[in-house]
Each structure stands twice: as C-alpha cells, then as structure tokens.
C-alpha cells in the first residue's frame, strides 16, 4: 500500500471537478443574496428605522453568532419536524418536499453572508465623507440619487477588500451543503475517497482546486478595485471623452 500517491492527487481532480458547477452555483447566488440583503440591513441600521433596526441588530447577532452548520441543520431538518407535528395535530398536510435541498443551502449560506457583509458595507458607507453628502443635498439630489451616485461608488472602494475576504470564506463554507445532501466539490471528493480510501490524496486534490478558485477570485477583485478607484494621475486635457470614476 503506497504511502502517498502524487499521481492520484492530480488524476482525481477531473472527477472531483464534476461538482464544480454546484459549488459555483452555491457561491454565486449566496454571495448575491449576501450583498443585496447586506446593503439593505446596513441602510436600515444607518437610517435607524424604528422596529426594523432592532430586528436587524438581532438578526445580525444571531446569524453571525451561530455556526452555519447548525443553521442549515435547524432549518432543513427542523422545519419539516415542526410541520410534521402540526400535521399530526391539525390533520394538515404541509411539507417542504417541493423545495429542493440546494435552495435551502443557498438561502442559509446567503443569509449567513448577509449578516457579515452588512457590517462591512455599513462601515464602508459611514466612512464616506459627510460633507459630500451635504453638498449633494444642497444641489437638490434625492436620497436615492445620493446613495447611488455619491455614497456607493466610494463605499465600494472601501468595502471591496473585505467583501473579497468574505467571498473567499464563503467558497469554503459551501462544503457544508453536504449536510443537506447537496454534493459540492468537497462532498464529491469524500464520495470518491469512499471507494479507494485514499482520503489524504483526495484532500490534497481539494486543496489545489480550492486554491486555484481563490486565486482567480483574488485577481478578479484586484481588477474591480482598480476599476473603482480614482486614478493617481489626471487624464490629459487632450482627451475628448470624459473618463474615470463611476458615474
């Protein structure tokens, strides 16, 4: 029995990658939910909207404070249990069988992301110099226009590195989806290893795969940071087109 099979590490990468679309789907949609809901929560906290603000604080605290595994478990297996008792007592016939497991995983991951992302976004928004907002107000711009044209473009620059971090964390977090029978990259690796028991090699394969994905994302974020940032040198006046910044 070979102690460590390097060739196997690379041979196993293609079969493991058959689950790549699942990991990507989980990551992409959960990230989107995280950003959108995170922005909403951040705005609620910043604008101190009554009732919603307290709910937001509670939500962020609970969702950040409990492990994703527990959140997944409790919703995927717990809600049907509650419905089962409800059915038994009231003779109803509710169940969640129509909802695919991957949707549960995506929502759980997305909500979890939103709790973390909302704090990142909130800090970034509040870092935007308030004088500019006053100037925009005196021009007569509406709150939404100010948010979109003044605050967010500048907040994005501040938030981008942290949001990139958050996304990279999420990619690893998607491996928890196996708890609800969603076969992602890590699950696929473990299934493969269940046949030949070369778990060590499989985990090496997974490490390589996840690292490559992370590197791709790091570079994507680098490009984004550059795109959103204010250039160091002003463009020459000879240019007719007005460039730079985000209008």
């Amino acid at each position: 029995m070979k102690l460590f099979d390097w060739k196997l590490v690379f041979d196993q990468i293609p079969p493991i990658l058959s689950a790549l679309p699942v990991t990507i789907e989980l990551t992409l949609i959960a990230t989107l939910i995280g950003y959108v809901l995170g922005l909403l929560l951040a705005l609620i906290k910043i604008n101190k909207i009554p009732v919603l603000r307290q709910l937001a604080v509670l939500y962020i605290s609970i969702i950040r404070g409990t492990p994703i595994l527990v959140q997944l478990y409790v919703t995927y297996y717990g809600i049907p249990l509650i419905l089962k008792y409800h059915n038994m007592r009231f003779g109803t016939n509710y169940n969640l069988n129509a909802i695919p497991a991957i949707l549960f995983a995506i929502i759980a991951l997305g909500l979890n992301q939103s709790a973390f992302d909302s704090e990142i976004i909130r800090a970034a928004i509040q870092s935007v110099d308030k004088g500019q907002i006053e100037a925009a107000k005196t021009l007569g711009m509406t709150g939404f226009q100010i948010l979109r044209r003044v605050i967010l473009p500048q907040a994005v620059i501040v938030a981008l590195p942290s949001l990139g971090n958050s996304l990279i964390s999420l990619i690893k977090g998607t491996s928890l989806a196996f708890t609800v029978a969603v076969v992602d990259l890590t699950a696929q690796g473990r299934i493969l290893a269940g046949k030949n028991f070369r778990y060590f090699e499989v985990y090496c394969s997974l490490a390589i795969i996840y690292w490559v994905i992370t590197v791709v994302l790091e570079n994507a974020f680098k490009v984004l940071e550059k795109k959103f940032s204010i250039p160091d040198q002003p463009k020459s006046p000879a240019k007719e087109k007005v460039e730079g910044g985000v209008a």
Partner: protein, 284 residues
C-alpha cells in the same frame, strides 16, 4: 420619506421569504399511496452517507453501489408502487434526523439498532447478520471471554453518533471507575485502523463481515481481533423508515423476506462480502 420607503421594502422582502417557504407546503404525498395501483408511484427518497465500502460506495462511473445499496434496489424491484431515489448526505446523524423529520423516507448505511436511534426511527427487519469485532494492537493482551473492562484506561477511536462508539459510551456509563477513553474521529476506517496499528489509539470496533471480508484482505495490518459478545442489537443491521409510515414498513419487510428467500441476498453477500451474511427468516 426615504425611511418609509426602506421599511416598506424590507417588510415586503420578509413577507416574500415567508410566503416562499410556505408555498412549498401542501404537497400532498399521501394521496398517491392511498389511491393504490392507479396512482403514480410514490417517490421514496433514501438517504445514505455514501460509505463505507463495501457496504455503500460509489463506483468509477459515479453510481452508488455496495451490498446495502444493491439489496435496497432488489427490495424495491419487488415494489412497483414505489419509485426509489437515492441521495447522499454527510453522515449518519443527518440520515437519522432526516428520516425522523420526514425529509427522507428511508435511511441506509449498515445501520445498527440502539435505544436512542429507535426512539427516532422505525427499524425494518434485519438486512444483514452482523457482529462487532474488537480490533486492537498485536502487543496488547486481551481475553475474548472477558468483558470490555479489560481495556479500562486505554483509548478507543470511532465516529461520533456511530453505534460502535455508542457501545463504548454505554459501557463507560455503567463503569464510571473503569472508563475507556474515547477519541472521536471523522476519519475513514482505514485511517483509524492504521492509527490503531501504529499505537496512536489502542482499540476500535468494526463490523465483522466488513473486516473479515474486505479490510483484512485489502489492507493487511498487524492487528488482532476478537468477537464482541453481549449486545444482541449489534447482531444485525437494518434499514430505517419513519414511524407512522406503516404501509411502506410492511411492504419493505415483505419484499425483504422475498429477496432473502429467493437467494438474491446470498448472491449480493457473496459479491460484496465474500461470504454469507443474510439473516435467516427465523431470525426475525
């Protein structure tokens, strides 16, 4: 005004999420089985952890197979009123929890019966004759006729929620001054066996058919074993279904008896376990 707009938006989002989860409800599954042969086959989602080989595993083409899996398929071949779908989940705890809450209709992973699990899920008739072997290093002396207290102070390795670990946990509860140290591990069986051989841990428990038929042959290690007596529930392994699903329970047991009677079970045991481990009808 901006605040009002935001709060409306947020409440709308909350309601949509709630509504979205509830619309998935009301899927009337029981109607199908009640209507009988005329209705479409009832879908049975069977959950497994996807291991260990040779009882459950995935072959090179990505198909789930193994002794338990093929036996399950043979059983459902005799039940055209059901449609079997197999899903893989990350472990036994998810299987038991899932069957109990109704997310899955059946669970299989060479499951042994114990008190705690029996409270949650309904065990079918036996699918395989089982017994546990105590596996230990060659340089430990152990007497097969003595009980587990001869290992007091030594370290056991095994999975959490695993019935074999439950055996040790139960023993520890009954023998508070002769405890065996438990190291919980989610590593695969071969890694655990290797660790016992190297001395990192001292003992572990393993299914006899698996070990004798497969592991001892594929991974020759310097280990000793003897058969663990005394726990009748480890004599067999089973499928599990949810309590209250009586029609399914009866149908499975009936088909299982046929599969054993017509020799299919014996054939599968030979194919995967290189021996005969089918339960006899009288064992029920």
């Amino acid at each position: 005004m901006k605040k009002k707009l935001l709060s409306i938006f947020a409440l709308a989002l909350v309601f949509t999420l709630l509504a979205g989860t509830l619309t998935g409800c009301g899927n009337d599954v029981s109607k199908a089985s009640a209507a009988g042969a005329d209705a479409a086959p009832r879908k049975i989602v069977a959950a497994t952890g996807g291991g260990p080989r040779p009882l459950v595993y995935t072959d090179d083409d990505g198909n789930i197979t193994g002794h338990n899996t093929e036996l399950l398929r043979a059983v459902f071949e005799k039940l055209p009123q059901y449609e079997l779908e197999i899903v893989r989940v990350d472990g036994v705890s998810s299987i038991i929890t899932g069957v109990n809450s109704g997310v899955y209709q059946l669970g299989f992973n060479n499951l042994a019966k114990n008190e705690e699990r029996e409270k949650l899920v309904h065990y079918t008739d036996p699918i395989m004759v089982n017994e546990y072997l105590v596996v230990f290093r060659k340089d430990i002396t152990a007497d097969p006729d003595k009980d587990l207290s001869q290992f007091a102070g030594l370290t056991y390795v095994g999975g959490a929620g695993n019935d074999k670990t439950t055996v040790i946990e139960d023993y520890n509860e009954e023998h508070p001054d002769q405890q065996i140290k438990i190291e919980y591990s989610s590593a695969d069986i071969v890694s655990q066996l290797t660790d016992v051989e190297s001395g990192r841990y001292d003992i572990m428990l393993i299914d006899a058919p698996m070990y004798n038929a497969y592991y001892s042959k594929e991974y020759p290690l310097e280990l000793n074993t003897y058969s663990l007596k005394g726990r009748t529930s480890t004599k067999y392994t089973f499928f599990v279904v949810a309590y209250g699903d009586d029609q399914l329970y009866e149908d499975i047991n009936k088909a299982l008896a046929e599969v054993i009677a017509d020799g299919t079970s014996t054939k599968l045991c030979q194919e995967f376990l290189f021996g005969e481990f089918s339960p006899t009808i009288a064992d029920k």
